[in-house]
């Protein structure tokens, strides 16, 4: 297992992403951060905390979306234990920042976008990921990236507050 990103790098990236989100959404209403269950939720929370440090009373809300019921590979692989969605506001007209830990094939993001639709029609959705490891299978690209990490499709990438690790398989 190789460490490609230290715990400190994770904190730095999250802070940088927070600044980029503010810059990009300077004019207009406060965006809503939505973490993708389960890997994206703590990162969404961490970005929210970073945003609060930069600018308190920013009105930014944080929620979670479970994309499991919208996946295109249901029945093709074992499903992890269930997680719930919790969306703090009606998303109609909102700017949503979808947050996940690793962007890989793009299929989870597609499922999450579809799941989001059930809570309203956002004005726009931007995508923030801590790691982009490539190998996209769908036309999806991130707006905010912590780090681009070249991997083999078979590698396993694990992300936590302790850092980012790649294990060859």
């Amino acid at each position: 297992m190789v460490e490609v990103f230290s715990a400190q790098d994770v904190v730095k990236s999250i802070t940088r992403i927070a600044h980029e989100i503010l810059e990009r959404n300077a004019d207009g209403a406060a965006p809503v951060l939505i973490g993708v269950q389960s890997g994206g939720t703590w990162i969404a929370q961490a970005i929210k905390e970073a945003l609060d440090r930069i600018k308190s009373d920013n009105g930014i809300l944080c929620g979670a979306i479970d994309a499991g019921m919208h996946r295109d590979d249901i029945g093709m692989r074992p499903v992890l234990t269930a997680h719930s969605s919790s969306i703090p506001v009606d998303l109609s007209g909102a700017t949503v920042i979808l947050v996940d830990d690793v962007l890989f094939t793009g299929r989870t993001v597609r499922a999450a976008l579809e799941a989001l639709n059930e809570y309203g029609r956002p004005r726009c959705v931007q995508l923030a990921v801590l790691v982009d490891r490539g190998h996209r299978e769908l036309p999806i690209r991130p707006d905010f990236v912590g780090k681009n990490i070249p991997t083999k499709a078979t590698d396993e990438v694990s992300v936590s507050a302790d850092g980012v690790f790649v294990e060859a398989r």
């Binding site: 479970d66 269930a82 719930s84």
Partner: protein, 311 residues
């Protein structure tokens, strides 16, 4: 395991996982659009050889909220009336294309037997006086949702009434005790099973002696349609001794709850209007039934089945 037949086959861990999945489904049911595409293209056949309102509608709704297609079948309006056998009926429906059969039958063991004739997943929606596993799941979920926690440890549950004819009681007792609750069954000796060897329960013949000590009072329906001999002297006398009336409802412990699988016999086991007692979760059970059945359908058809109990 691709079937859902009997609580006995399910480990405590799998049961808790199903409860967690039920909570997830409950969240879907609270959404503005309570429908997800998870089981698109799957076909669920509800095959009821015995009458039912809530279980059938509940499965129907559960399947639709997961975007499965539902094939309805009621024995009373089918070729069963022309003498077609259960096996031929199942094989016919399967030839049309079915991924899961939801089966209810008045004889115990029919859903298990159907697994030999079909490649589809079989879900037991109640077989005779044997099992009603989805009811046990929704009941366990309703209790856990009310009291909080991961399982039912520390709770005292009294199941009152016609245990002898009750598949609900059999499934509930297995589920509740697996989840750590202490279960007492209460009823006249004539309505308790003749052989209870190995049942992990206490037995009591006096309703009044458990009423103040239970966290959950689970009332069972007096199943008059299954009674081929005199099990109770009269319905009035039964109501006197084992019915939940106003005075008994008042003596219940603070924070305790009343449950009933439905349909209720008003004036027999339910001598009080549940709407009048603040701690009735009877309609909550019905609501949760949809979420519990969604969890089972999704586990079997979308998530590769339920791990078997090896313990």
């Amino acid at each position: 395991m691709k079937h859902f037949l009997d609580i006995a086959e399910i480990s405590r861990e799998s049961l808790i996982e199903l409860l967690d999945m039920t909570a997830n489904m409950a969240e879907i049911n609270r959404r503005p659009v309570p429908k997800v595409p998870a089981l698109r293209g799957k076909v669920v056949a509800t095959v009821f050889f015995e009458d039912s309102t809530r279980t059938r509608i509940s499965f129907d709704t559960a399947a639709k909220r997961l975007s499965a297609d539902v094939m309805g079948f009621a024995a009373s309006a089918s070729s069963i009336n022309k003498g077609e056998s259960i096996r031929d009926t199942i094989e016919t429906l399967e030839a049309i294309g079915v991924d899961a059969f939801v089966i209810r039958h008045k004889t115990g063991g029919v859903p298990a037997t159907v697994t030999k004739w079909s490649d589809a997943s079989i879900i037991n929606a109640g077989d005779g006086a044997n099992q009603h596993p989805t009811q046990a799941l929704l009941d366990s979920y309703t209790i856990r949702e009310h009291f909080g926690g991961q399982d039912l440890t520390g709770l005292r549950i009294s199941i009152v009434g016609d245990v002898r004819h009750s598949r609900v009681a059999r499934s509930d007792i297995q589920a509740f005790t697996k989840l750590g609750a202490a279960v007492t069954i209460v009823g006249p000796s004539t309505l308790l099973p003749s052989d209870m060897t190995g049942w992990p329960v206490e037995v009591c013949n006096e309703f009044d002696s458990v009423i103040g000590e239970s966290d959950v009072i689970y009332m069972l329906r007096l199943q008059r349609e299954r009674m081929n001999s005199a099990f109770v002297p009269s319905l009035d006398e039964y109501a006197q001794r084992f019915g939940l009336d106003k005075s008994r409802a008042k003596r219940m412990r603070a924070g305790s709850i009343v449950m009933h699988p439905g349909p209720m016999n008003r004036g027999v086991e339910m001598c009080v209007d549940p709407a009048e007692i603040p701690n009735s979760l009877i309609l909550r059970q019905v609501t949760n039934g949809v979420s519990a059945r969604m969890a089972v359908l999704f586990k079997l058809l979308g998530a590769g089945g339920i791990p078997e109990d090896e313990g």
